[in-house]
């Protein structure tokens, strides 16, 4: 078996003779410890399997937080030629546009400390979380279609936030190619009740403190300073996105036969980008992504409302909102010419550098904000997109800490009450819908987020701007 080769600091190549059928090499960003974790489960096999997809324009890429997923590894990036390549529903995943948004508050840690318990209690009441909780907004008949086609724009039009928020969301919170008619009634049925809910699993809302600044200029542009209180929201497209992925995976299974595509794992099912099925998926995926943008926009509104009620100031500035699971058409340079590719990001974040035309005006001089949630009770990071992302990783960087331990083992290793005690000792207060869900998300179940961001910083895919540490957590 061909072995991994080091191609420079924190860079490894998985040569295409690693597995028969690989059309391109694999490329992994990691330090030695992270690489050990990556080689422990089936991540390498999954990187190799993705390298077998038709029409890839270069390597099958894995970020330092990569771990085993379904079909694609989590932390994977794959770019294909739109005319010769395929789109894979599994390459985006079940939680379409699972993503993160950061709100900067006008408060310093000292202003907030006496009010943390009340804030958490009220946020927990205002934002439906856990499983099966319905959103307070009952959508009328066809209104779901409006949400799917207009995303955060629908939310702002319906008084959930301000126009200015829309400038600070990837794709301005509305992917224009979305088409609600490509989304099944079932997906709408699953989603309609869940709009404006946080969900369960690794989704959360955290009140955090900016604890370190690494890049003064970028931090200033993002409106962040030391000791400032911020709010980080992590959730996605809920049951709607899950059902869209399920529906199209099923459709793409048929497509494999129809388009004569042979793959080692059915979970990778894919169809040509330019096929009817491929185009249908991309429109439905965009609609699901819009649902997620609207979802995070509504949660933002309620968060502002709670801060306003308790601290008499709900002026929480949206810093940015990024997608972690998505496929997008983007342009990259090949020598002197520009070429459009379809980039699948499965647990990876867009990281456009300074000067990129798709970075919103107010951040164009420093690069797009990249939001990296850590595990519960540990640090999260704000990064800025950097130049090497354009030449090496299709404008992509890591997305989080990445799981290192199964949920069952995580729950076995610690009881919920011990975990709450530990977090409390660290100064982190928690409100949680499911105690079992809490232990599954314990910090030791994740890789070290510090190492993950150090790797992407060192290799120049993005650079460190600020570190955030939690003081309050709301979990589903």
């Amino acid at each position: 078996m061909a072995q991994l080769e080091s191609t420079g600091r924190y860079r490894y190549r998985l040569p295409k003779n690693f597995r028969e059928g690989m059309k391109v090499d694999g490329k992994i960003y990691a330090n030695e410890i992270l690489l050990q974790a990556i080689t422990k489960d089936q991540t390498l096999d999954q990187i190799a399997n993705v390298a077998m997809l038709p029409g890839l324009v270069s390597e099958s890429i894995a970020m330092p937080d990569a771990h085993q997923g379904y079909g694609f590894c989590i932390g994977g990036v794959a770019a294909v030629d739109p005319d010769e390549g395929v789109v894979s529903a599994g390459g985006v995943g079940f939680d379409i546009n699972c993503g993160v948004r950061l709100l900067a508050t006008p408060f310093a840690v000292a202003d907030i400390k006496p009010h943390v318990d009340r804030l958490l209690d009220e946020l927990f009441k205002a934002i439906p979380c856990g499983t099966g909780k319905e959103g307070p907004r009952k959508l009328s008949g066809k209104e779901i279609n409006d949400v799917l086609e207009n995303g955060a724009h629908w939310a702002v039009k319906n008084s959930y936030g301000e126009d200015i928020d829309l400038n600070r969301i990837e794709e301005s919170g509305k992917i224009k190619s979305a088409d609600a008619s490509e989304v099944s009634d079932r997906a709408k049925q699953r989603g309609v009740k869940q709009l404006g809910t946080l969900g369960s699993g690794n989704h959360f809302l955290e009140i955090q403190v900016v604890d370190a600044i690494f890049d003064d200029e970028a931090a200033r542009a993002f409106g962040l300073h030391r000791e400032q209180i911020v709010v980080l929201i992590h959730t996605g497209s809920r049951g709607l996105g899950h059902q869209v992925c399920t529906d199209y995976l099923d459709l793409m299974q048929k497509g494999l036969k129809k388009y004569n595509i042979s793959l080692p794992d059915r979970q990778l099912a894919c169809v040509p980008v330019r096929s009817e099925e491929g185009s249908g998926y991309l429109k439905a995926m965009a609609a699901s992504a819009n649902f997620a943008f609207a979802n995070r926009q509504m949660i933002t509104h309620w968060t502002r409302d709670v801060f306003n009620r308790i601290l008499k100031n709900g002026n929480l500035r949206l810093v940015y909102d990024v997608a972690h699971n998505i496929a997008k058409f983007e342009k990259y340079k090949w020598g002197n010419r520009e070429r459009e590719v379809l980039v699948h990001r499965k647990g990876a974040t867009r990281a456009f550098p300074k000067g990129h035309p798709d970075v919103t005006d107010e951040y164009r001089s420093v690069g797009q904000p990249v939001l990296i949630p850590g595990s519960m009770g540990t640090s999260s990071y704000v990064l800025a997109g950097a130049e090497n992302a354009m030449s090496e990783s299709y404008g992509s960087t890591c997305h989080g800490a990445g799981r290192a331990m199964s949920r069952k083992k995580a729950s076995r290793d610690i009881t919920a009450s011990d975990l709450l005690k530990q977090l409390n000792q660290k100064g982190v207060k928690v409100r949680v819908a499911s105690m079992r869900g809490l232990t599954e998300e314990q910090p030791d179940a994740y890789k070290d987020v510090e190492s993950v961001v150090d790797v992407v910083h060192e290799v120049g895919l993005s650079r460190k701007v600020a570190r955030l540490v939690p003081i309050g957590v709301i979990k589903g």
């Binding site: 489960d41 771990h67 085993q68 997923g69 379904y70 079909g71 989590i74 995943g93 079940f94 939680d95 856990g130 499983t131 099966g132 079932r186 049925q189 699953r190 969900g199 369960s200 699993g201 049951g239 899950h242 059902q243 992925c245 399920t246 995976l249 099923d250 299974q253 048929k254 794992d265 059915r266 979970q267 799981r403 290192a404 331990m405 199964s406 949920r407 069952k408 083992k409 499911s434 079992r436 869900g437 599954e440």
Partner: protein
């Protein structure tokens, strides 16, 4: 009594292996194994039923489509099954009746299951009957 299922580990997600003396039995036990990831099946009373019917091109697809139907009943229709009765028409079609009740605040629902996957999916004959292995995304 023979064990009807057990939960399996996976770095990010979770799976199960279900057992049954007959094919309909193993399909029925797989549905309850799925429910057990979401909530405790013992806490679900039988007050109603839902019927599902699935066609597929092969057995793997039949299994995935069937469990996705069960998941839709749980997540889209808010109905929690405690028991399932399955009739297999051949390798490519099945009908099932799910017995249980509508979800209420009383049920301790631990997690959402996003979807059923083909990851390491297996349907096998064993010494005592059949086993099914499935991983789900949560």
């Amino acid at each position: 009594m023979m064990e009807t299922f057990q939960i399996l580990e996976h770095t990010a997600d979770i799976g199960f292996e279900a057992y049954g003396g007959t094919e309909p039995e193993v399909f029925a036990n797989a549905a309850i194994a799925l429910v057990s990831i979401i909530t405790d099946p013992e806490q679900i009373a039988i007050r109603g039923e839902r019927s599902i019917h699935v066609d597929a091109d092969d057995r793997e697809q039949l299994l995935v489509r069937y469990l996705n139907e069960v998941l839709y009943v749980i997540d889209g229709d808010s109905f929690l099954p405690a028991k399932a009765a399955v009739t297999l028409h051949d390798n490519q079609a099945l009908s099932a009746t799910l017995y249980g009740e509508e979800r209420t605040e009383r049920h301790d629902v631990r997690t959402d299951v996003k979807a059923i996957t083909y990851h390491q999916l297996a349907f096998q004959e064993t010494e005592t009957g059949y086993s099914i292995r499935v991983f789900v995304d949560i």
